[in-house]
């Protein structure tokens, strides 16, 4: 539930009837589509580019620029809405689709027109079963109203939308993993280059955009890029959805302009920690970004650049608030189990590294670890970072490294002082015979 004054994305959040076409239309829905269909596709791309909209799935790549990578004159282009929201701590896209599917759908149709795609897929995370029904209902309404299908609103533009349910693999949220999954292949990323904008689904140019990015499009078309840029900072434009979990007084999904100081967000929106808890740390952009201790996050602003300068990333906006009472080693074990479990197993460093990290952390928590094991965690991270097809490996390394960097004493406290620094031979001298 959102509690904010900003409603580019969250106007209908929390309303029981917000998902209905009639409500959406009554509040100005599909006006942007009518306007877009009178524009040139290139014009729409320019507006989105000028608005400075950056991909909200995690990478933050400018959406309009991505659209521009589709080779000029491509006959067959596909568009995917990435609703495989699986990043631990992130639950914003499901709000968009649950409360306001038509806004995302309108954004989808405009985006498809901009890249001249004739077929779009809304790829929904397997665990979000009810969202499939919700989106399908919206798609059915849109077909009936003439917003989808042949010759949309008399413009001559055709578009079909397929709601596709994933099977619940985190890696299918990676855009090429998602494409593989829809192609009926094993859900694992494709090797790049070629990038999907050039050769993706069925080896044709394909654009994959996050739900929140797509949902921002109708507002940008209605109000123009200048209006959008009034929100946010110079390089981080617009508003962002933050999904906040942890023992704060008011967890939930919030829409605020990029660049808001964390301190303000924490006190004014989240209303601080619940009674008896102190803030220890925050994972600000979903589990895959480095953790920041309380004092560091308190001096950050919530935009791409500030967080980057602080040594972390805005990521998906999945904010995990960690209280003093949390055991950081236990937390990292949970995260390492996640990446170990979700690694597709394709690239060796990730396949072997995620499992290895998980084993070492478990060993430390059993009280069997040595000082060398903490260094070994760093060594394994070195062998994983930046060496794989997709960023899942880095996504495991970033929290792992930062947890050690920022909370090393908690790791060291688990080492028994009597434990030898070097592992002893399994066959000590004299026992071999």
């Amino acid at each position: 539930m959102t509690r904010s004054n900003y409603n580019i994305l969250s106007a209908r959040f929390g309303r029981p009837d917000g998902h209905l076409l009639s409500v959406y239309e009554a509040e100005g829905g599909y006006k942007a589509l009518r306007m877009a269909l009178t524009m040139q596709p290139a014009e729409i791309r320019d507006v989105v580019k000028e608005a400075g909209l950056r991909g909200r799935g995690g990478a933050g790549f400018p959406t309009g620029v991505k659209w521009g990578f589709v080779p000029e004159g491509s006959e067959e282009v596909y568009f995917f809405v990435n609703a495989d929201e699986s990043e631990p701590g992130t639950f914003k896209d499901r709000f968009c689709l649950d409360y306001d599917p038509h806004q995302t759908l309108e954004g989808t149709i405009i985006s498809c027109f901009a890249v001249q795609a004739k077929l779009a897929f809304i790829y929904i995370r397997g665990e979000f079963g009810w969202l499939v029904d919700r989106c399908q209902a919206a798609v059915d309404e849109a077909y009936a109203a003439g917003y989808l299908g042949k010759n949309i609103l008399g413009s001559g533009f055709d578009l079909d939308v397929i709601v596709h349910k994933g099977a619940g693999a985190y890696i299918c949220g990676e855009e090429t993993g998602l494409i593989n999954s829809v192609e009926g292949l094993k859900g694992q990323p494709k090797i790049k280059p070629p990038f999907p904008a050039v050769s993706g689904f069925l080896d044709k140019p394909t654009i994959v955009n996050n739900v929140e990015s797509v949902a921002s499009i109708p507002w940008i078309i209605n109000n123009g890029s200048e209006a959008y840029k009034k929100f946010g900072t110079e390089k981080s434009c617009g508003t962002k959805l933050w999904s906040v979990s942890g023992p704060v007084k008011k967890p939930g999904v919030y829409e605020v302009p990029l660049g808001m100081p964390f301190k303000e967000f924490f006190h004014d929106y989240l209303e601080g920690m619940v009674e008896g808890e102190e803030l220890k740390a925050v994972i600000v952009g979903g589990s895959s970004v480095p953790v920041l201790p309380a004092d560091e996050i308190m001096s950050c602003n919530l935009d791409y650049e500030s967080l980057m300068n602080a040594g972390t990333m805005l990521g998906s906006g999945g904010m995990i608030v960690i209280p003093e009472s949390s055991d950081m080693v236990e937390l990292i074990q949970v995260l390492m189990h996640f990446y170990f479990d979700e690694s597709c197993g394709q690239c060796t460093p990730c396949r072997e590294g995620t499992g290895w990290l998980h084993k070492i952390v478990k060993k430390l928590r059993r009280g069997e670890g040595t000082a060398a094991d903490i260094d070994l965690l760093g060594h394994v991270c070195d062998g994983m970072a930046g060496l794989t097809i997709c960023p899942l490996s880095d996504a495991a390394v970033m929290p792992m490294r930062s947890f050690i960097d920022k909370f090393r004493p908690e790791f060291e406290a688990l080492i028994q002082e009597t434990a030898p620094a070097e592992p002893v031979s399994r066959w000590p001298r004299g026992e071999q015979e």
Partner: protein, 509 residues
């Protein structure tokens, strides 16, 4: 052409060349790799061929990079070496390191690369390894040791892209990922053993070769598969006079890097129990000293009345049969007996290696009935070289009235009815030339000693020429080939055949 600098060395390669190949050329050895294979699509999963390209922030894998003019590449600097060393460590952490009992030891990519840039000190305790299956039979010729697999996916891509049969896949994910076949599916296609060749580790091994010989004890001889008319280029791996296996030898004009499973099993005939090891005359095992007399006693002073050859024999031997026959007819044996099903890749319906040789030498071919009629129509002793024409009942019956000299390798129906049996050499035990279905002349070389007291066929035929009063019996195989040069014409030089064979009058494909 693109000019690039690799490890400080300038090289020029054609546009579109893979950086992997360019690096291999500049370094004089390939980059470390498991998943890259020149005949398969790029998987990019082993991550070993990382290089640093100046101007790119991250290391990049060379196999999925195309050269660009002006590229400056580092393959051996500290950053690259650290990365590849660590990635190799990752490959090994869940590997059983059971080299002492692994068949791949000695020709193992993991072993070789570990020796060149391993870390040498394990950081993983044995108990902490992921355990996977051992010695799973996945097909008639292939066995899978799951725990040794590095998941390079070469076998999977081979079955998808080369045979199109798709038996293999990678199941499960993360470090639980395993290669395997789908439930109820066996790795059973004509080319299944190629997966053993391309497996860079000991995960896929040959059920036939497994535990037979340590590979470093094997010697190699280049040869040609005698299994069908395709004439796949092979390497005979042998030790102490025994053939252990056939492996495909690269020839882009014929078989590329592959060969069929049936072809690989042709060596079994060399080892068979019923090989002919000594000359036999009138049912009595004798020696070579008595052969001339025994053959002469059959009334061959003026030559043979008929000679029956075979498409299994070498071109040189066919030439000698012609010389030996003089005016008498030479027949090519049973033409139809060695045909079976062909497939779309390499295996030919004609399961003989040198039928084109018979054609070139102008030797008649026909079915059993025709051969039986020919036999009845001639007078004088009959020489049969190779094959087993008496397996055909009509031929056997017509031969019953004749004095037969059989020069062959196995104790079969023809040997049983021959008056004189002369033990010849199998293809692995002698040198010669086959002409494949495309007219390509290809040389095979001797790899192992002949069985028992068997002799090279050309020597035996030269001896028979002397017995039958023919002049100009050749003194060497080289001399036979020199004579054949004139038969083939053009610029043919059979004594200097190129490694990839020679097609008279130009390339056929």
């Amino acid at each position: 052409m693109a000019k690039l600098t690799i490890d400080g060395k300038e090289i020029e390669v054609p546009d579109g060349t893979s950086l992997f190949d360019a690096c291999g050329k500049a370094r004089g050895e390939a980059l470390p790799h498991f998943c890259y294979h020149p005949d398969l699509s790029i998987a990019g999963v082993c991550r070993l061929c990382q290089v640093e390209v100046e101007g790119m922030p991250k290391l990049t894998i060379a196999c999925n990079t195309t050269v660009r003019d002006g590229m400056v590449v580092h393959t051996r600097n500290e950053r690259v070496t650290k990365a590849s060393t660590q990635i190799l460590e990752m490959h090994l952490i869940n590997h059983p390191v059971d080299c002492p009992i692994c068949d791949q030891a000695g020709e193992c990519g993991l072993q070789n690369q570990y020796m060149s840039h391993g870390l040498y000190e394990s950081k993983v305790e044995m108990e902490a390894k992921v355990n996977k299956g051992k010695a799973e039979v996945i097909g008639p010729y292939v066995i899978l040791d799951q725990e040794r697999c590095v998941l390079c996916s070469r076998c999977v891509r081979f079955c998808l892209e080369v045979t199109g049969t798709g038996e293999m896949g990678i199941f499960n994910r993360g470090d639980r990922a395993e290669i395997g076949t789908a439930p109820g599916v066996e790795l059973d296609n004509n080319y299944s053993m190629n997966t053993v060749d391309i497996c860079p580790v000991g995960a896929l091994t040959s059920r036939d070769f497994r535990f037979q010989k340590r590979v470093w004890m094997l010697k190699a001889a280049s040869s040609v598969c005698p299994g069908c008319a395709t004439g796949c280029n092979v390497r005979i791996d042998h030790a102490a006079g025994r053939v252990y296996r056939l492996k495909p030898r690269y020839n882009p004009e014929v078989n590329g890097r592959w060969m069929c499973d049936m072809g690989r099993m042709t060596y079994k005939a060399v080892l068979e129990e019923n090989r002919l090891g000594d000359p036999v005359s009138a049912g009595q095992t004798g020696n070579w000293a008595g052969v001339s007399g025994a053959v002469a006693d059959l009334g061959t002073k003026d030559g043979f009345g008929l000679i029956i050859g075979s498409p299994h024999q070498s071109l040189e031997e066919m030439q000698l049969l012609k010389l030996l026959a003089g005016d008498s007819p030479v027949h090519g044996g049973l033409a139809g007996a060695d045909r079976s099903e062909k497939d779309a890749l390499l295996l030919d319906a004609d399961r003989t290696p040198n039928r084109k040789g018979l054609t070139l030498m102008g030797i008649d071919q026909g079915d059993g009935a025709a051969l039986a009629a020919t036999i009845k129509g001639v007078s004088g002793p009959v020489l049969i070289h190779g094959g087993d024409p008496a397996a055909d009942l009509a031929v056997a019956e017509s031969l019953g009235a004749k004095s037969v000299v059989y020069l062959g390798t196995h104790n079969n129906a023809t040997a049983a009815l021959a008056a004189v049996v002369l033990p010849g050499a199998m293809w692995a035990e002698k040198a010669g030339i086959f002409i494949n279905r495309d007219g390509r002349l290809q040389e095979f070389k001797q790899s192992v000693a002949r069985h028992g007291n068997a002799r090279e066929d050309w020597r035996i035929l030269a001896e028979l020429m002397k017995v039958t009063g023919k002049e100009s019996a050749p003194g060497s195989l080289k001399a036979v080939r020199t004579e054949l040069n004139a038969v083939i014409g053009g610029d043919a030089d059979l004594n200097k055949l190129p490694e990839r064979g020679f097609v008279p009058g130009g390339e056929v494909r």
